[in-house]
Subunit: 581 residues, 2 copies
Amino acid sequence: MLRTHNCGQLNISNLGQSVTLCGWVQKSRDLGGTTFIDVRDRYGLTQLVLNTDTEATLRDKSRSLGREFVIRVSGTVLERTSKNPKMATGDIEIAVTDIDILNESKIPPFLIEDETDGGEELRAKYRYLDLRRNPIRNNLVLRHKMAQEVRRYLSDLDFIEVETPVLIKSTPEGARDFVVPSRMNPGEFYALPQSPQTFKQLLMVSGFDRYFQIVKCFRDEDLRADRQPEFTQIDCEMSFIEQEDILNIFEGMTRHLFNHVKGIQLDDFPRMDYADAMRLYGSDKPDLRFGMEFVEMNGLVKGKNFGVFDNAELVLGINAKGCAEYTRKQLDELTEWLKRPQIGATGLIYCRYQPDGTLKSSVDKFYGEDDLTNWAAAFNAEPGDLILMLAGGTDKVRKQMNELRLEMGSRLGLRDKNKFAPLWVVDFPLLEWDEETSRYHAMHHPFTSPKPEDIDLLDSNPGAVRANAYDLVINGTEIGGGSIRIHDRKLQSLMFKHLGFSPEEAQKQFGFLMDAFEFGAPPHGGIAFGFDRLASIFAGLDSIRDVIAFPKNNSGRDVMIDSPSTIAEAQMAELKIRTVN
Amino acid sequence: MLRTHNCGQLNISNLGQSVTLCGWVQKSRDLGGTTFIDVRDRYGLTQLVLNTDTEATLRDKSRSLGREFVIRVSGTVLERTSKNPKMATGDIEIAVTDIDILNESKIPPFLIEDETDGGEELRAKYRYLDLRRNPIRNNLVLRHKMAQEVRRYLSDLDFIEVETPVLIKSTPEGARDFVVPSRMNPGEFYALPQSPQTFKQLLMVSGFDRYFQIVKCFRDEDLRADRQPEFTQIDCEMSFIEQEDILNIFEGMTRHLFNHVKGIQLDDFPRMDYADAMRLYGSDKPDLRFGMEFVEMNGLVKGKNFGVFDNAELVLGINAKGCAEYTRKQLDELTEWLKRPQIGATGLIYCRYQPDGTLKSSVDKFYGEDDLTNWAAAFNAEPGDLILMLAGGTDKVRKQMNELRLEMGSRLGLRDKNKFAPLWVVDFPLLEWDEETSRYHAMHHPFTSPKPEDIDLLDSNPGAVRANAYDLVINGTEIGGGSIRIHDRKLQSLMFKHLGFSPEEAQKQFGFLMDAFEFGAPPHGGIAFGFDRLASIFAGLDSIRDVIAFPKNNSGRDVMIDSPSTIAEAQMAELKIRTVN
């Protein structure tokens, strides 16, 4: 080794020892005759001290050091006169006897410090420098610990990690596949997996009983802030179980992670029907760090000649506690915010429960004091509260109110990143109607089992069929989702029929799975966690980008390596493909 | 859970308990009034016993069971009258009170037993059934354990597992890339990584210090028996180290695996120069389970008017101990075997040390008793031994003799799969001359550091430059390879120049790495292990295929899912590509 210790290791117990450290020059201060240099590595920071009056060679070398130079220094561990209790090595410094410059550095394009002056694009181009900064590197260390704990927890429960293939078959269901032309089979393509779904089910057919894998998956979708073309799943499957078993085991895994990685003990996770989640929060992933449940107000507001409410399918309200003092201007701004096309509300009705105990609404023309008192009661409102109301079609108004609730939660400081509110959402619909294609799509995926008691509804009322499907939500973010799967060929065929597959198409795409079901497929189910997202929640980040070492930008580009890029004509000729405009 | 226990769990301590098991019907025997059924899962086999005289419902159900039916049975644990000490559950059986058929099975296309009657193709098509067989499943359980132990060993040494991207940039160096057309960047392609080489080096530049990853890699090569288009590497890199540190840490990892997964304590691994490996074994991956080193015989054979030897650049011999009794016919067959185009020898010369102490060669016309006595001495031969000789150009004759040595080792039973002979081969040449392209190629890869003392040879005698590169060989198979890397931009540019890159090409392809070297790159090096191959050696297999859950065949096809396959025109249109004939 080029060093005897790392830069985070030395303390008072090492006094007097001769040591050699390697690392990067963080900063250097020259205080008339004495030079202090902070040398940094992954493990920490150590202060070097040089007497530059007496040692001409050391002085010259130390003066030639710039930020981010890589050095190797030898010296003796001394006790500091002024200690720094914030640093692990803050009690000591190294009296340097020798310095080697292992590599020089140009001036970095941005500060390699916890708070940097580099813009997003510049940091992306020099990602290898951004990764030197503690906050980013710590995210990846955290991610590593999480992966270790996931593997430990699952292995202790007899789960086996099995690698499934990356070069698989393209299927038309779901998001767009990335495809890979096959040179050995000209005209044919592999696809990169959107998930190892069919393979993990086949492993259950094979009797593997308990499978998991931390695995890269791929979706060629238009990218939003929190999406990446390649992402990582904690993918799991079990046989001979029921939904309850999966919820217990993976609630256990999540609690294990919080406990062993963050030192947080979580209570039992609450559970909520999909229907209730939509009714109370307008979302299948409600943020339960705060209440502010929806109140359905149809019974309280209809028939008073206020057209907006009378004509609405649903009138919804929330209680923004302590916001009665909102000015007219603030309320106007909130209304404008709600009218933006992303949300599309037509207007906002409010009712102030004023500190003096009186009630005042924006629709006093139509509703008297008794009405307002009834409203306040429905919300358990108190003086100082502000009731915000939206009206419209059920689905739309729920979505809009969900946005408003989250916004008010944020404004009220109720969405603390250090608070964690997990929730199981269960009893998802099996199918959802897609206006664009005028057909039902699988809400989860085509392999999800309908609830046995709802199978009869498949023909008569497909939208009402509930699935044995569940999502794990933390702080309003979907962290994991899964289902009990179909393990019967006939039922699987029926599902494909309802999803608009002809028997031939179903057989061509998924014949291998349906065939497998005929050779003794066990009852099975599973779950997949979005590992990037889970890590970002653990790290307290809004985006998954900084829990990924080398992420891509919103155009799917890696600006550091400049990829994707053109390839040689000869390469395309070998693959028997060409590009077209 | 649908069961109270698994099929490998119950023993004498469970007597009298009411239990429920789930699993597959392995076999069923009807012995007049009593039916015995073996039910199987991943964990083992349990014997069920039914009194079919008294229980008509159970009798009918048990008669309807076929092989591989999935059942759920309840009953009471009884002590067996005739115990089976070979089975973990051999002391007990279950007196069945209830049977549920969870799923039926068609008759499987081959026997789901340790020895099967299914051919390779059939088993590949029904891989999910082949995976039910104990030997195959056990391979994957072994692989899982190995991966766990690798992660444990490395994490305990402060290595961090970091995921590097799968969608990267195509580079012309090395094997063919698989490419992925980018829909968002029409006309451009990602490539799948042949290894995460440049990314792990960038992580060192980022100060990650110790990195590892168990990661899928991809090579679009023509497939041989032991190659797969996607394969798994244990990929590792360290900073501030020297070659010796890497060898120690990863010898430690290998010993840890043998110890914790196979219970085998290995001695310190021997080390051998590349030059010695070629001289003594004609291979950079000698199988050291047996000796049979080459003896260079030029000094013993030249100048006796035997043209084959006189005209040869090199005459090599090995001592096949105890083979003096080989008949003329056997020797002729061996000669024919050597003359096959794959080996291409022109002839085989031999010398028998006969049991009576006399020496007899196939070239007695040219060499007298004194000569033969000198030969025998050079080989430490004893009565009963057989000296086999080949002559020709140095490189060719070494390769041929390597084949002959391995063949004789196999014939003599010296290549026992339960014996493990590891070896570090060190001091590889930096470059190798490629006749086809008439230029030097990097023997390891372009990022490998030349030995500092050899750098001056780069211009004058590039082929003589040695690298700080090393391979780990076990039983004649390369298991891992690595090198100390270049961390200096100038030296890296020089390397690209010697590999025939123009400065522009080098900058276009690897500019990001060379740029990174200018911002304080630490000295670093690493190694990558072929995980599939390591697992296959642990499993005692000749091929890597059965340590991979879903392997591809020699045409790169997954015959189970029928991939690769054609994709829709619309999909190609979106990607702005088309296929050509």
